[in-house]
Symmetry: C2
Subunit: 447 residues, 2 copies
C-alpha cells in the first residue's frame, strides 16, 4: 500500500491561484493611515517591485509562474504528499490522514515558495539588495537562500533575543550568504534610537520591521515580506495545487483541510485551491485553521483596521487583530506569534468559509512527538498545531466510526527546534492562553 | 529538464546485495583474540540475534528484506536521486553530477537503513531492549527511531563531550523515546571505573562501546552497531540498488562513484551494487572513497588485524587501521573519526577495486557551502568530503572538456551541524592532518 504520492516533475504547477475573483464580495482595501482613504498602490513602490504590487491588487484568477522561478522550485518541488498510516494505526482511527510536507525545502519550511519569486521580481527590476526582518529565523533563511539564487545581497534584521538564543538559524542565513544584524542594531536610525534608550533591548519583530523598512530606502534596495500580504498567499498556492493533484492520484476527496495559522500564508497556500474546488461544486471539504491559544487572532481578535507592524508605520489593513500593542507569550512556535491575520484570510473567515480553533502548546507538542515516533518526521512547533487538530478529529472518527479523509499541511521540520521539544519532554513547557486583560489592553491601541 | 529522479514506491528494493560471493577471493575471517583462530560465529550470540550473525557470515548473493522492514523503509524510501545542474553551472563543468540524497530519513542520514532491520531481527527474537554507543549522535538517533517502531526500549551511551556540546542530538534521541546516558556513566562497571579515576572524563567512543556492550549482558537485551560490520554494509546496499535504477531512468551510466568513508557503510551502500555491475561487465565506473586527512585509515593506515574498539574487547578484524590507540583530531565530521575501516571494504581496497583520497576539512566545508548555495541542501560535514572530491573531479572535467558522469552520496543533512559551518565561515576552523609521530605511536598498539 502506497503511503507516499510523489508528483512527477512535469506536474509542477505553472500558475498561482488568486481566490479574489471567485469570492462573493471583494476584500476591503488597505487604507492610507493619514487619510483613511483606500491606499494608492503606487505608495508601495519604494518597498516592492511593480510586479509584486500588481499581484497584491490583482483580480486575475491565475498568475503565471515565471520559468526562472519554476527552475528553482524544482530543487525541492513538487513536495511529497504522505499517507500517515502508522499515525492512523496508533490512533486506532478509521480516518485517512494525508500530510503535505514542505520541510524538504532549502530552509526547511514553506517560506521559499514566496522568497524565490520575490527575489526574482526584484532582480528583474535591477534591485541589488533585499532587506527583511526575521523572528525565529525561518523567513530570514528562506530569503537568504532565494537572494543567493539571483546574486542579490540580503540583509536580515533578526530579533536580538532570537539572535542570541537561536545561533543555528543565524548560521544558516550566513551559510546562504546573507548578512544578519541583531535588532535593534546601530545600522539604522530606528535601531540606534532604541539602543540609545536601552542598550540591552531584547528587540521585537516590530522594531526589526522598522529597521528593515528603513534600510530598504537605500539605492538599489527593496524590502521583502514573509507572510500576511496577498502576493505572499498567492505564491503559496503551489502547495494546495500540488496536493489537489496528489489526492486525486490517491483516489481521495478531502472531508477536512487543516492548517496552522500565524500570518496565514501556509494555511492559505494549502486551502485556497481546495476552496476553489468547493465553490465550483466538485468537492465539499470543511476548512479548519489551528492557532495558538497564546496568540489567537482569529478566535479572539477583533475584525478591524490595524497596522501590520508594532510601530504603526505600515498602511492600515482590515484584519482579525489582537492589537498591534500585543506582546504575545514567548511560545516556542515563533512563526505563529503575530498580532494580526492576513487580510484576505480574515475576509474569508468573515464570509464563513472556514472555522478556527485555538490550541494550547503542550497538546501540540504531544501531537508532534506522536507524529515523530510514528511517521519519522520531527515537525516544527508551528505545524504541531495543525497536527494536534488533526489528531483530535481522527480520535473523534475513532469514536463515531467515520472514515473521514483529513488533509493537513506539515509546513516545516523541527530540526532547529529540538530545544523546544526538550523543554516539553522535561516538563518545562507551560500553557499560557492570552489573558483577557492583556487582550483588552492591546485592543485599546486600535486606530 | 528533470533534475530529480524519484523512484516509484513499487520499486523499493526487495533484496540486499552481498558482494562476498562475487569477489575473486573471500575476505579474511575475524579472529578470536585469545587463540588467534577464526572466530566461531556462535561467540557473537550474546551481542547479536542469529539472523544478523547469519548475515554477517553469509555467502549468499542476496538477502530478502523482510516486509516489516520495507514497510518502515517506505516512510522515506526510495530516496531521491538529484541532478546537481546548478552546481554544474557554478563550476562551469561539462561533467554531469548526480547526488543520491539520504538526508530525508527520520534521523537525517543513511543510518536508519540498518537501524530498522537490526531492531526488527531483535524484536523477532523476543529482545526487549537495545543498547548502543554514539559519538556525535547520528547513529544513536537512528537506532532510537528504529527501536520505537518495534516497541523496544533503547539505551544510548553518548560520548560525554558530545552530550554536553550537541544537546540537539540528545533531544532527538529522547524525542524518539530513547534513554541517553553521558559516557562515562555510573550505570556500568566500565563507566564507573573511568569516573572513579577521573570524575570529569570527557569520554571516548571506546569507553562508550564498552558501556553499551556491558549493558547488553542484561536479560532480554542485545547490542546494535552502526557501521563497519558486514551486516551493516549489507543493509546499506538499498542506497546503491535504488541509485542504479534511477541512473538508468536518467539514461546514464556512471564514470565515477564517490562516497565518504568513516566506518565505510555509506560508501559501501552506494558503491557495491555498481561494483557488481562492473564485475558483470555492464558498466565500468571508477570508485573513489574520500576520507578526512585527520583520520586517513585507507590512505595511511596499515592493513592488519586490529580490534574494533579502543579497549580491545572485540574480536580481531583484518582491516586498514590507524591503530586502536589513535585519538583523532576533533574534526567536525564526527562520523568519520574511526581508527579502522570496514573489513569488507579493506579487502576490496587491497584487491584494487577502488581508490581513496584524504581531504583537509576546510576544502570540504567550502564544497558544502557551494552545494548549499547552489542546490539548496545543507550537507552534513561527513558527505562534504564526497562533495569536495566530486567538485575537484568536475573542475578537472572543465579543463579537459570530458563530460564525465559522476555519482555521489549525500548521506545526511547538516541541520544539526550548523555550528561547524559557523566555525568555518568565521575562519575558526583549521586543517590538521594526522601527524606522522601520532600515527606511528598509534600503530605501535597493533596486537
Amino acid at each position: 500500500m502506497a503511503n507516499r504520492f510523489p508528483l512527477d516533475a512535469s506536474r509542477l504547477p505553472r500558475r498561482w491561484y488568486n481566490v479574489v475573483p471567485d469570492l462573493p464580495a471583494p476584500p476591503p482595501p488597505p487604507l492610507d493611515p493619514a487619510t483613511r482613504a483606500p491606499l494608492d498602490p503606487a505608495a508601495l513602490e519604494p518597498l516592492f517591485p511593480p510586479d509584486l504590487i500588481t499581484q497584491e491588487t490583482s483580480t486575475d484568477r491565475y498568475v503565471d509562474i515565471p520559468e526562472a522561478v519554476r527552475e528553482i522550485y524544482r530543487l525541492w518541488r513538487p513536495t511529497p504528499l504522505l499517507r500517515a498510516r502508522r499515525l492512523e494505526r496508533a490512533l486506532g482511527t478509521p480516518a485517512r490522514i494525508y500530510v503535505k510536507y514542505e520541510g524538504g525545502s532549502p530552509s526547511g519550511s514553506h517560506k521559499p515558495n514566496t522568497a524565490v519569486p520575490q527575489a526574482y521580481y526584484n532582480a528583474r527590476l535591477g534591485v541589488r539588495r533585499l532587506t527583511t526582518e526575521t523572528g525565529a529565523g525561518q523567513w530570514g533563511s528562506a530569503l537568504a537562500f532565494a537572494a543567493a539564487q539571483f546574486d542579490l545581497a540580503c540583509e536580515v534584521w533578526m530579533v536580538r533575543s532570537s539572535y542570541d538564543q537561536k545561533p543555528y538559524r543565524r548560521s544558516m542565513m550566513e551559510l546562504f550568504g546573507a548578512t544578519v544584524h541583531p535588532s535593534p542594531s546601530p545600522a539604522t536610525r530606528a535601531g540606534a534610537a532604541v539602543l540609545a534608550a536601552d542598550p540591552s533591548s531584547p528587540g521585537s519583530l516590530g522594531i526589526a520591521i522598522s529597521e528593515a523598512v528603513e534600510a530598504a530606502a537605500a539605492p538599489g534596495t527593496r524590502y521583502a515580506v514573509g507572510s500576511v500580504l496577498n502576493h505572499v498567499l498567492l505564491h503559496q498556492t503551489v502547495i494546495g495545487e500540488e496536493a489537489l493533484e496528489q489526492l486525486t492520484m490517491a483516489g481521495e476527496t478531502p472531508d477536512l483541510v487543516v492548517g496552522c495559522t500565524g500570518g496565514g500564508s501556509n494555511f492559505a497556500g494549502l486551502a485556497l485551491p481546495f476552496l476553489r474546488e468547493k465553490m465550483a461544486g466538485t468537492m465539499s471539504p470543511a476548512f479548519l485553521a489551528a492557532e495558538p491559544a497564546a496568540c489567537p487572532s482569529l478566535t479572539r481578535g477583533r475584525y478591524a483596521y490595524d497596522h501590520g507592524d508594532a510601530a504603526g508605520l505600515t498602511p492600515l489593513f482590515k484584519m482579525h487583530t489582537l492589537g498591534r500593542g500585543l506582546v504575545p507569550d514567548p511560545i516556542h512556535a515563533g512563526g505563529l506569534r503575530y498580532h494580526g491575520m492576513a487580510p484576505l484570510l480574515s475576509h474569508l473567515y468573515e464570509l464563513g468559509l472556514f472555522t478556527a480553533v485555538a490550541l494550547p502548546q503542550r497538546a501540540c507538542f504531544d501531537a508532534g512527538v506522536l507524529f515523530a515516533r510514528t511517521e519519522g518526521i520531527v515537525p516544527a512547533p508551528e505545524p504541531t498545531h495543525a497536527l494536534a487538530a488533526t489528531v483530535t478529529e481522527a480520535r473523534r472518527c475513532a469514536e463515531t466510526g467515520e472514515p473521514k479523509v483529513i488533509l493537513t499541511a506539515l509546513c516545516g521540520h523541527g530540526h532547529l527546534d529540538l530545544a523546544a521539544y526538550d523543554a516539553h519532554l522535561s516538563g518545562r513547557l507551560q500553557d499560557r492562553p492570552l489573558p483577557e486583560p492583556d487582550l483588552r489592553a492591546a485592543l485599546s491601541h486600535l486606530p
